[in-house]
Symmetry: C2
Subunit: 206 residues, 2 copies
């Protein structure tokens, strides 16, 4: 098993997280890096920066540009994309499910399914029926997974994970942290982060 790892911090409501969730697994495999999936909530992180909404909504010129940039990048990557009819969607339930599955073999499939629901199929990922359908579609015991996701332990775990994101100095998503603490922010840095993590002990265990 690879000892080269990369912590991948993402949020289901985040547009640029969509691109990285869809791209990371084959790139990580090629780089010989194991991905640690770290779902978290951007809302509390943004609040700590004084934003009560996505900065893409607070600053309309940035928001307009972001959607155009997303469409161009999705086309380059060959990913389906449409601007969601609601943004940001509430990613709380999807994040709880992802945290339940963070070390399970289905985490990548689930993350891609939920992200695609939001950014390709314009489905409301805050709706438990939508998440249930996605889980069932992956052949998973949807009732049991949702029950685990809605447990008190799971809620607390996501709260702690989100607090940890702020402690780590995260201010957006996606973010990538190598074992040596090196931080990379944004889908634009996915390749560079994997390169850093893949360089091994020289970088990753310093």
């Amino acid at each position: 098993m690879s000892t080269k790892t990369l912590d991948f911090w993402f949020e289901f409501a985040s547009s640029y997280s969509y691109l990285s969730v869809m791209r990371i697994e084959p790139l990580a495999r090629a780089a010989g890096v194991t991905v640690n999936w770290r779902p978290f909530l951007l809302g509390p992180v943004f609040l700590s920066l004084g934003w009560n909404d996505s900065p893409f909504n607070i600053y309309p010129p940035k928001g307009r540009y972001m959607w155009r940039d997303l469409a161009r990048l999705a086309a380059r990557y060959g990913l389906p994309f449409q601007v969601p009819s609601r943004f940001p969607r509430n990613g709380l339930l999807a994040a709880r499910v992802a945290l339940v599955g963070a070390d399970e073999p289905w985490i990548g499939d689930f993350a891609r399914a939920a992200m695609s629901a939001n950014f390709a199929d314009d489905l409301d990922i805050a709706d438990p029926a939508v998440i249930h359908r996605l889980l069932a579609g992956l052949g998973l015991p949807a009732d049991a997974v949702l029950a685990a996701a809605n447990s008190a332990d799971s809620k607390l775990a996501l709260r702690r994970q989100t607090e940890r994101a702020t402690e780590l100095g995260l201010f957006g998503a996606p973010s990538f942290i190598a074992p040596d603490g090196e931080l990379f922010w944004g889908n634009d840095r996915l390749e560079q982060a994997l390169e850093w993590a893949g360089a091994g002990p020289a970088n990753s265990m310093a």
Copy 2:
């Protein structure tokens, strides 16, 4: 002469503009694209977004990350870099000089010299003596260029150029605009912007 062009909007105080100013000319040449140099001031643009300082100062986690990202990118590009002892520096005089020289053969050399002064040599580009020395070092008539830069016409021209930036929906620097109006933001998009502009009439004259 090439009819493929790209408008390059940059600010001398902007850290990511430094990277693009240093990189753009050889990349544009390889893409068969002529660069239109568009110096402007970010201050009024930021004010229109409600920021009275660089967002890298307003949001400390973003600022800390930005300097680390800059150092990593500069190393990748083989560019000298040190964190300026003052940020952002006042780029007003340098922008006026660049606007005077925007269509002159020395614009690229001057822009690189002033950017290097700020981000590699930690010199105060707001100091007329520094700019005078840079101009003289390029073999230019420094007194005459500075007189032109400080004329009423030049001051008005920079004010108009900066208003134009806001009208175009710019919210940061560097920004790149293709002839068809396609906007690209950030040093990370320089290659993509040149590719778009270089694709010619299909893109650039639509």
